[in-house]
């Protein structure tokens, strides 16, 4: 199994957390994993990107047009980052507006859930449901349980499961 995924968003949206979730899930599956993250000034609301490479790779970065999937927590990341993804079928965008991508309004669903801060996990749930990722939802949930701080655990799992269901 080899898979390359980019995660895009704005600083503060929780891109780093779902990067870690995917990395943990890979290890739970017994797979090699390499990720690359954005830290520093861009985290203050600027465009951020993570690269996740599952399987046998030596470089932590993904080349243009080589990502199997792009998970966009904000549509404003598209301009900068959609070039990484091989085809538009692999582009998943958190948005309520239609476009040349797989759109899903995770922000709206998280708001209806009463917890806008878990938009990232709601969207991850949706992507795990609809995209053929390297692992299934059980492994992802286990990874979320493993790395969530205890005060956040219940909410994170709820967010993920709601996204997976697609509705409240």
């Amino acid at each position: 199994m080899k898979q390359q995924i980019i995660l895009s968003g704005l600083g503060g949206q929780g891109v780093l957390f779902i990067t870690r979730v995917l990395a943990e899930a890979a290890v739970l599956k017994g797979l090699e994993v390499l990720t690359s993250e954005t830290h520093g000034m861009a985290m203050r609301g600027g465009t951020v990107i993570s690269h996740v490479k599952v399987g046998s790779f030596s470089s932590p970065l993904i080349r243009s047009g080589k990502a199997d999937f792009g998970i966009f927590l904000h549509p404003r990341g598209l301009e900068a980052h959609q070039g990484y993804v091989a085809g538009r079928d692999g582009i998943y965008v958190n948005t309520d507006k239609p476009g040349e991508y797989q759109g899903f309004d995770a922000t709206g669903l998280a708001a209806r859930l009463g917890s806008p801060v878990i938009t990232n996990l709601v969207f991850l749930g949706h992507v795990v449901k609809t995209a053929k990722l390297f692992c299934d939802e059980r492994t992802i949930r286990e990874a979320i349980e493993k790395i969530s701080p205890s005060r956040q655990l219940e909410l994170n799992v709820k967010g993920f499961e709601t996204g997976f269901k697609g509705d409240l």
Partner: protein, 612 residues
Amino acid sequence: MGKKDERILMGNEAIARGLVENGCTLFASYPGTPASEILPAVVQFSRETGARLHTEWSVNEKVAYEVALANSMAGRRSAVAMKQVGLNVASDPLTRSAYLGVVGGFIAVVADDPGPHSSQTEQDSRFFAQFAKIPVFDPSSPREAKEMIGPAYALSEKYEIPVMLRPTTRICHSRQNIPCAAPRVSSGKADFKKNPGRWIATPQFLTELHRLLNEKLEKISQEETLAPRRSPGGGPQEKELCVISSGVAYAHTREILEDMGAMGDVDLYQVVMPYPLNRDFVGRVNRLYKKILVVEETYPVIEMQLSNSVAEGRRSGIVPGQGELTPDVIEEVLEKFLGRLLREKAPARGKGVRPTLCAGCPHRAAFYAIKDAFPEGIFPSDIGCYTLGMNLGAIDTCHVMGACISQGAGFYHAYARDGRDMPTIVVTIGDSTFFHAGIPALINAVFQGAKFILVILDNATTAMTGSQPTPQVGIRADGQKGTPVSIADLVRACGVRFIRSCDPYETGMLSALLKAADEYTRKGDGGMAVIIAKHPCVLDREAVKSQPVYKVHVSEDCTACRHCLDNFECPALIFAGDLDRVVVDDILCIGCGVCETVCPVGAIVVEKGGKG
């Protein structure tokens, strides 16, 4: 051995784990992207494993280097970490430590930032190692960074020489599954052996120390275990072409060559120690290969040591002379070198969204008040979150740590000597930067008769790099209580006579203080004026809990003039195209209420009783 303990570690955490496992007894650092996460991980792993070591966020990199160096002189394994430009600050103790050497193993972790992503230069610390005459290791993955710590300590102790570990951003901020082990037995008891000829080393001793250093480097360049490695995957015979690479550029290069099925066409070498470059290797590759390509970040360190005028790389122009060597860049370089097009490229990428100060950030309030009070002022500033004041037009310069105060002085003297009308000069500096390098600059400004306003933006943390505590707070790196050092006391001791303090959320009061400070700097017997704008960083959740929360909304009186968007730029104030006016994003708004005074027509309404 029990069950294999494999974890996902960020490169910086992997380095920290390597230090703890290899018996480091003192670790000092100053925060700076991309090196900031090493120290918290050292603290965590030392707690977890029961390793006894002293950790500190030193006041700057020079101090960190010197503290760690003395621990090594007492015979104990030590390490220091910083970003590449931090090494500029620590260069003085670094260069001399090469001559005098070390006793307990000493590793300087210096994180480079090709690109740069979060730095003021993209300088190559391997060059600094060469300049200082110390060996440098260049890891190509987080796992390798951890695995290099043991050999680095061994080399340091064998030759009594500081060793540099030079990761780059892509190593520091990558994660990988990495095996972890228990710490090995730590260094011996502290035992400083007096040796004036070595530790005082007046000039009469230095030629001999330099000769010894040269001898060490000569031997290190012949250490077989540290020689460049030929990557597996090629055929048994050496080819006509070879690619020499190091660091993460090697990881990219290898993956691309494998991906293209080109490993059989070239010999690929990984240089694990770019300086001193292995002596036999240089002779061998120059003899064996018709064409040589060097792929390295950021400067031509290996390339220049090859002393081969036809080797291709940064100097021949085949590799761009600047910028990060991303896999996309390297792919093009390899295409040129191999003379074949590998694939069609995806279109170029756009720019993305620029970062901005957080909603409720106290810096924004201070900047707005400063810009409002002195629209024609000159605003030197410095390095930290507050550099984002450039979005508000409230800073005019950002040079290096602490430079803003000296720039304020320089601007003052420029206008004063010229006899021109003196513009109001307002310098802004963060609390951590003030401690780091601002204090000598302030003493100098006072003593040399400069008169300007210095606003110390005291948010009680080093926010940009991940909220490391600063000395006035009194909490040390490991969470223990330290002795707080008061900023106001320091300012007073620097000779400043006008010192005021206020909460920048109170923009009216800050404006009044700024006016009073301006008058003071213009009086015949006036001088430097310092205002300490004190409000905790809003990323400090506990601090935010203790501040009042207001309900903020924008009324229909909004004329869509965009004054608030352009001059205040709070991410919680957004333009709603469908309503043709500004609205408040309730998710982002923290209810600080500062924006109330910003709207020219009073359309931003702030009421008591916001979300708690």
